[in-house]
Symmetry: C2
Subunit: 320 residues, 2 copies
Amino acid sequence: MYLFTNITGVFIFDNQLNVIDKILFKDSKEYKNKAEFIQKIKEKHKSLKEPGDADMEKLLLFFKSKSFSRAFCDNNLQLTKSCIKKSASPDAMLIQATNSIDETDKIINLLARRLREWYELYNPEFSRATQSHEKFVEDILGKEKIELLAGIGADAEDSMGADLGQKDIEPIKSLAQQVHGLYQLRNIQESYISSLMQDLCPNAKAVCGTLICAKLIGRAGSLKRLSEMPASTIQVLGAENALFRHMKTGAKPPRHGILVHHPLVAKAPDRMHGKIARALADKISIASKIDYFRGEFIGDKLREHLDKKFSAKGNFEKSA
Amino acid sequence: MYLFTNITGVFIFDNQLNVIDKILFKDSKEYKNKAEFIQKIKEKHKSLKEPGDADMEKLLLFFKSKSFSRAFCDNNLQLTKSCIKKSASPDAMLIQATNSIDETDKIINLLARRLREWYELYNPEFSRATQSHEKFVEDILGKEKIELLAGIGADAEDSMGADLGQKDIEPIKSLAQQVHGLYQLRNIQESYISSLMQDLCPNAKAVCGTLICAKLIGRAGSLKRLSEMPASTIQVLGAENALFRHMKTGAKPPRHGILVHHPLVAKAPDRMHGKIARALADKISIASKIDYFRGEFIGDKLREHLDKKFSAKGNFEKSA
């Protein structure tokens, strides 16, 4: 006698491959608890065995019957839905939030440029005197033109800006208000990512910082896939174009991808970039493996090691 | 004796081209009121005349003296600043606001797509059931997941979306809040443009609608330049690439540029597009000329004429 289980139920076939007992599953939840049902049926029937390949072929024909198609379809649908439900892992949230930050950054830049161009019809002196978009937006929302000009030591009388009425200033301020809101959104998202990472990958976060780590995971697809990558792949992650150009045309290989934004790399002299990126990728590879297998926290030590090696002044020469 | 005036002052030269009297301007404001000063000096001296070309050449050498350079520089600077101040015309505000709407539209699309992708991890059924971005954003801000699913007749039990905690939902809602704010910004800007146009170009606005009219003025550079354009130029404004491709390679000439978005063109069958765009451009050309020279309002009649000609059903055949 054979025991056979699929998504529709548990079946006992005799040696002529006729069904002699069965338990049908009502829904995919019962299928997930199939061990329980198999146990139940095993208590009723002794000397059960698994069907061999030849028997299996004939046995499966039994399920071609139309009476099963409904059960197959319904249970499969339920099962798929629950798998999809589970697929929204912290990784997926992290990747969404990271992409969202990227887009928010681009949008802030776009809108801030538009805002300045528009605002400069009204008060060009202040716009030119303020470098940071964020400060610029905050100031024009909080203060009047005369205050702003006094703040940079200019005289409102001399201003090249037009004297606009309230009606013309209002849409400019609405735009500024939106840009301000986008800055706040960016902060919310960054702290969300940071708290996600504290649970998901504290080691990698400690080594390379919140945003760079998030981008690496996003580029790799998940923490699992990042942890499976060799350090040399992590080093050039995000520089795929340059890498393929190197392989096709023999141009110089890229020294770093996303890692170029890491403070250790960015602050070092250009000729050291490749060396630092290599060491950094090495530590990230270690850290992500520890994170994925839920090992203990050693991220601070990894980072400290890198800092000692590269950021002490004058050390560049020795280690180069 | 000669009378000569420039930005530094009013001067009287005798026949040997020596200065015998002068009034120096303190700033560019006095230069703007120069008529007054000229009057004053004319009362003191009789039989003044304008210098001829030959005299002028010698006379100007007098101003090469270094003692004038300061006055030239300061007064010119003031004059330039005041010209810049005046350059912020309603046209300039209109163009800024129009560009800003264009960008806001693009940004709303970008962020709404990101929002949906992220939100679909949580509640895919509702996102798929709601076409309009604007309604989608409003609904997810105002209602809970269960309500939303009930609204589209779905069961929260069956949802493929993950069960996210408040901590994960919050950044999604912040993003939705921003998109909502951007929709409001767009409305503010559109009503601002509409009110600007009511003063600036009521006729053109009546013929082609607020946004299309704003884009035409933006593309032309100002209402003045739009009013100077022939109807055939207005017809293809915004299709410069296609026009130059036509001239260079002999490809088909464009039938319309910005005007393709006008409801009369957009709703008509494809083969009628060129014909309608031509008639429309014709009326816009008339309307913008009336607007620039501040003529009376006949925009409604122009529009009515077009509507009668093209939007009555079945008329397409007759007029084609």
